[in-house]
């Protein structure tokens, strides 16, 4: 009795909404809202979850597992969608005497080690991670320039900072630091400045730095 009472306004509502909705949703044939309303009106309140998921999971097999049309013999090759294990030695690392290198498995190992694509041409490689990565070394600083760099740094280490010198001679910071050393008083001054900055840090920032150090240590252990 009560269900009928309940159903009647629902059905009337649905008929009214469908009529109104058809006008608005002519282009998009069935919006989910109207579909659910229609389902409710016809008495099917919901779809069975099992049947729905079963239907959703019915997908054709991966193309690697399909037999070719000619019916000729073939090898199923479907590399795992997982990070490669370190126990799978890359082809380049195999020693000359290794049977894997001697057997005619070259192509297979090459393609299995390389997940970026089927062909590993020089043009087909993924892009370098940074701009400087893989760029040829320039070796553009001459001996005289190094001497000049040293005198500049010795004269006024505050003015000729590492960054300034790197900009001037178009080389890396590391190279500048390899070439010249600042005096002890400049070093002490810099350390003092850094200590003053660190003293201003609150608990959150200093804690974050500590965490970063720990993460770095874990990274080198291979734990993350």
């Amino acid at each position: 009795m009560e269900t009928r009472h309940l159903l009647r306004p629902l059905s009337s509502l649905s008929s009214s909404t469908t009529t109104t909705a058809t006008a608005s949703a002519m282009s998009s044939s069935t919006s989910p809202f109207t579909r659910s309303i229609v389902a409710a009106a016809t008495g099917r309140r919901h779809q069975s979850t099992t049947s729905r998921t079963k239907k959703m999971l019915k997908i054709p097999p991966h193309p690697d597992f399909l037999t070719p049309r000619e019916g000729e013999s073939h090898i199923i090759y479907n590399p795992p969608s997982a990070a490669p294990s370190v126990y799978h030695t890359p082809f380049k690392f195999l020693p000359k005497t290794d049977p894997r290198r001697q057997a005619n498995l070259t192509q297979l190992i090459r393609s299995s080690a390389d997940l970026s694509g089927p062909s590993a041409n020089a043009n087909n490689l993924p892009p370098p991670s940074t701009k400087r990565e893989g760029a040829p070394k320039m070796y553009n600083v001459t001996r005289e320039q190094v001497d000049e760099m040293r005198t500049l740094r010795a004269e006024d280490p505050a003015k000729w900072s590492v960054q300034k010198l790197a900009e001037r001679y178009k080389c890396s910071h590391l190279f500048i630091m390899m070439c010249c050393k600042a005096g002890p008083e400049h070093k002490a001054q810099e350390r003092e400045r850094l200590e003053a900055i660190k003293a201003r840090w609150g608990p959150i920032r200093s804690g974050a730095r500590e965490e970063r150090k720990k993460r770095k240590a874990l990274l080198f252990k291979g734990a993350i």
Binding site: I59, P80, S81, A82, A83
Partner: protein, 137 residues
Amino acid sequence: MTIRALEKVSVGQNGVGAFILQCKRMDIHYCDYSGSSRGMNAFIKSQLAKFASTHPQIEFAVSPRPRKHPVLTGHYINGKHKSICVKNMDSLQILKKAELLRDASGEKIRKVNKPITSITESVRGVWSPYHGKGMAV
């Protein structure tokens, strides 16, 4: 040489390489007079010698416990023990219980809802969304 080593200890699994029976000691308690021990007394008389000789890995200790029900207790390598009261059972039932204690590992009974428990890494690795060719669904 910049590599330093971390200390790790190898992990063993019983049955890989060598199998060690986990039940190391079985205590058998009986009473000479009470009726609940009748089956146990028969077990001790007729079957215990054979059972003990087929299981030399287990140390058997038979001791009377007057005016108490008969009890079988298994002691395990992991330090736990398991007791079964075998009152009013006949000797065959007690043999079944002794075999149950022998086969137990001593671990707590817990629900096993994975078909395989292994410490060996999967051959195909752990699935990652960033690898593999994927397929259009």
